[in-house]
Amino acid sequence: MAQPQRPTLSSSQLLTRDQAKTLADRVLALSTAEQTRVVIVSTWSGNTRFADASITTSGGVTDTTLTVTVAIGRRQASSSTNVLDEAALKRTVELAIQLARLSPEDPELLPELGPQTYQTVNAFVESTADLDPEARASAARRTITAATAAGKTAGQIFTAGFLEANARATAVATSNGLFAYHRSTDADYSVTARTPDGTGSGWARAGARDWSAIDAASIGRIAAQKAVASRKPQPIEPGSYTAVLEPQAVNDLIPLLANALAARSADEGRSPFSKPDGGNRIGEKVADERVTLYSDPTDRGLLGAPFDAQGLPIGRTVWIEKGVLKNLAYTRFWAQKQGKAPTGNALAGGLALSGGTKSTEEIIAGCARGILVTHFFYIRSLDPRTVLQTGLTRDGTFLIENGKITRSLKNFRWNESPLLMLNRLEDIGRPEPTEAGRLMPALRVRDFNFTSLSDAV
């Protein structure tokens, strides 16, 4: 029986800067359109999924997708393919041109960008890009072992988890001479532990650009400890309670503000940042004065992309500073129309919420009576005017009394707005890494609106 070679599909197959440039130039040369943009995304992804002490699926995928966007006059269209031979590239360019010719004029179309200067962001970490199937299986084993040990007072703990490592190279080139190239990695690992009596469930997650920053055993241990502590949850009357949201719960809510931060929606009267009589609320106080929300690809805790899919440089943007709305997200078109600088999408450069220095434990310790939330599930928008959302708590919801966790609570459905919530802060913790490109603190929020009970464990 032939022994397989070492990883036959791996991140070493990502396009280098030179390879991406050569490919982009080939495509630009094929285009007869007035304006052409090429976006190349080359990816490797390795994943391992397990449940009930068995790996259920694991995969390795490599792919390179090329998207051509062309403009003829004010008519624009795009076409993409992952077939990279000469014939396919030609067909893709021709299809984009054909689609553009057929498209009506877009009055908002801007010319492609010319050469730009980008900040240097080193977001590619070898330990993540090299995370092979054996290393992932070994991490799963460490997690299960730690969870089993931490949960043994409750019997045989059930664990299910997912570990994924990604490596990606992105290049953007335009017929006006722009060329941008960026590589990044990310690893994400989450684990759910359940007690054999079916009444307890816990969860933990870590995400980072650098796999070596993730402790597989610790994730298993925390998930199992939460599962054991959350057994036999008791109902309490739904209503407004002080809530302590762990950083992962905050990470579920705060990025939902990104859409609301679009300047155009605000200026058009369709956002919570619209003024009732027209215009937007830049300069107004929109959150507690401790709150600062920003994007910054060069922040060591974020390491976001230094450009977007148009090649627009992404820099530091402070959206909310000490509670005051400082900036909204301007597309190139809307920025030009309003005489502002374009920022790109609100999440492009990562997202961080800052304002405090305490740990989650300290935030809990300062709470006289409240509900501790591990994370949220199935969040859906109810009302864009207030960014009101509904969703559920999950995998560890506890009552806090006099600074201590005293008992496990049944899960709740809640209806709450991440924006309005930021006006009811009792305390804010230090920003913690929650996933690659995110820093979120624990929050203690007054009058969080828990609306009904859920029987789900």
């Binding site: 029986m1 397989p4 449940a51 199935y378």
Partner: protein, 530 residues
């Protein structure tokens, strides 16, 4: 289930299709559908290359899927086109079983070397998985099959000229903008053609072409410091361009947009308990979330615990034949056969022929959705030895796993419609089209909204409401169902993209249903943050 019910579904859907398009073309639909393409020889060669490499390296079972996916999107707002895109994705995925452990690898390098590399990588993954293996995978038997199939369509939507698509959408927007206060209109088309060849080490070799269309329309009215939107429920379907035309979007847009304007003046709902009448345009999603997902066997046995969640329909040994899901008028069918449905295929991604079976019969839970490796786990409870054919992967680059087939509420024997249900209701709320939706990870507590809400007083529609959401516990909700429509009121909605799995995959699934009444349901006022 009774043959009459099954035949009914097939008969009504094909009749509806015939009416919609037959009128237009005046030709028999059967005679006009496109023929099913076969696999080209080079594709089968590559698949065999990967299969041989996998077997040579020790796979006890392997399957290879080669897929070519073409997607087109056209999006418009008001009088402009906001996006036209066309994408093609082509590649090969190999799944291997070594000592009872799965491995999966995929590549877009479509050469012999690329196919071999993917196969060997899958073997590496299978072997690595042995380090964490408490249970070996065992596959239910399936008879090897060869063949081809195509979604029955008259006109491939990818081949329709873009001018025609843009003209349709802009005419739709123009009609909507005639309505006073309607300032924003979005309309779009999502079109997909998927050509997939599956070759397995057991001798299956099938090539299928799946075609799906997803139209969308939304209007927003602005007035006196407020805005209200209305999304029409344009069901995505496994159909051709003829279905998009049958919706007559330009002819209906003014009426749809006027609902957004009307919502500005609607009365905000008084929260409380009401009898609820759900039109099929709303109920299909409630079925999807509260019956479709909880009856997936992988959720019931914990394999989705870390993501989509588990299920209240667990453990299987305490549920099959025992759980009273709803009243005796409740019959829930699973299938991958309904005409024009999104999950319709001839064979699933393990080569299992499409099936039709009952999930709930006369209110009692009967069976789950299964794949080959799952069927054996409950066969002693169900007496079913075959897979129900629920294996599906969203693309060549994703591993196949258990995905939802069409899950539908079958009509009552008495052929009543929604008007009859309204007439029989003293105090209630009627809801049309899907709105916001959310449900917990065991599928108990849900909260759904809609697009248009009407107050019912003494058997009549008394006026329009707004800010309505209904919140309930799944078993209590279904047990409160006391009236359902008959066959004339059956309608099939669907989700073009339904997420599950890690890495998350999207599938398309339809849900047929009739209007139904539910007693004493909690209604929230979403504007009051209730």
């Amino acid at each position: 289930m009774s043959p009459t019910r099954r035949d009914f579904i097939r008969a009504t859907t094909s009749t509806a299709a015939a009416l919609a398009v037959g009128h237009h073309l005046r030709l028999s639909p059967a005679a006009q559908t496109l023929p099913a393409p076969g696999a080209d020889a080079a594709v089968v060669d590559l698949a065999n290359e990967a299969l041989n490499a996998a077997r040579g390296a020790g796979a006890s079972y392997a399957d290879v899927r080669i897929g070519r996916y073409r997607r087109q999107g056209v999006a418009t707002r008001e009088r402009q086109v906001t996006g036209v895109s066309d994408s093609e994705s082509y590649g090969l995925g190999v799944r291997t079983l070594v000592n009872g452990s799965w491995g999966f690898a995929a590549t877009s390098v479509m050469t012999r070397a690329g196919a071999q590399a993917a196969a060997l990588e899958a073997i590496v993954l299978s072997r690595a998985a042995r380090a964490v293996q408490a249970r070996r995978v065992e596959l239910a038997p399936v008879k090897p099959v060869t063949g081809t199939w195509i979604t029955p369509v008259m006109r491939d939507p990818l081949e329709v000229p873009l001018e025609e698509k843009v003209a349709l959408l802009l005419a739709t927007n123009e009609a909507a903008l005639k309505v006073a206060n309607v300032r924003f209109v979005n309309s779009s088309l999502a079109l997909l053609r998927e050509v997939k060849t599956l070759v397995t080490s057991e001798g299956t070799n099938v090539t299928q072409t799946m075609i799906r269309v997803g139209p969308a329309f939304s209007a927003t009215a602005i007035g006196s410091g407020d805005f209200q939107s209305y999304d029409e429920e344009l069901a995505p379907r496994g159909s051709g361009w003829e279905y998009v035309e049958s919706l007559n979007m330009p002819g209906n847009a003014e009426r749809w947009a006027s609902i957004a304007a009307e919502k500005l003046k609607a009365k905000s709902v008084q929260a409380g308990q009401y009898d609820l009448i759900l039109e099929p345009t709303n109920l299909w999603l409630t079925i999807h979330e509260s019956i479709g997902h909880p009856t997936e066997l992988d959720r019931a046995i914990g394999e989705e615990a870390n993501y989509a969640g588990t299920s209240f329909v667990a453990p299987p040994e305490k549920m099959i034949g025992q759980l009273q899901y709803g009243p005796p008028i409740m019959n829930i069918q699973a299938d991958r056969t309904q005409e024009a449905s999104l999950s319709r295929v001839a064979w699933d991604d393990e080569g299992v022929p499409a099936d039709t079976w009952l999930i709930v019969e006369k209110g009692v839970f009967k069976d789950y959705q299964t794949t080959r490796e799952q069927a054996a786990r409950i066969q002693k409870l169900t007496g079913v030895t075959r897979s129900h054919g629920c294996s599906f992967a969203e693309s060549w680059n994703a591993v196949q796993f258990q995905r939802m087939p069409n899950i539908s509420l079958l009509p009552a024997d008495t052929d009543i419609g929604v008007n009859d249900i309204v007439a029989a209701t003293e105090r209630g709320i009627l809801i049309r089209n899907r709105g916001s939706w959310s449900i917990d990870h065991q599928r108990y507590n849900f909260q759904f909204s809609g697009q248009a809400f009407y107050e019912i007083q003494n058997g009549k529609i008394a006026g329009m409401l707004r800010d309505v959401a209904y919140q309930a516990n799944t078993p209590a909700f279904w047990r409160s169902m006391d009236m359902i429509g008959g066959k004339s009121s059956y309608w099939m909605g669907g989700a073009f993209t339904d997420g599950k799995g890690e890495p998350s995959q999207s599938n398309s699934v339809s849900h047929g249903c009739v209007p139904a009444r539910f007693r004493n349901v909690t209604i929230l006022n979403t504007a009051k943050n209730s």
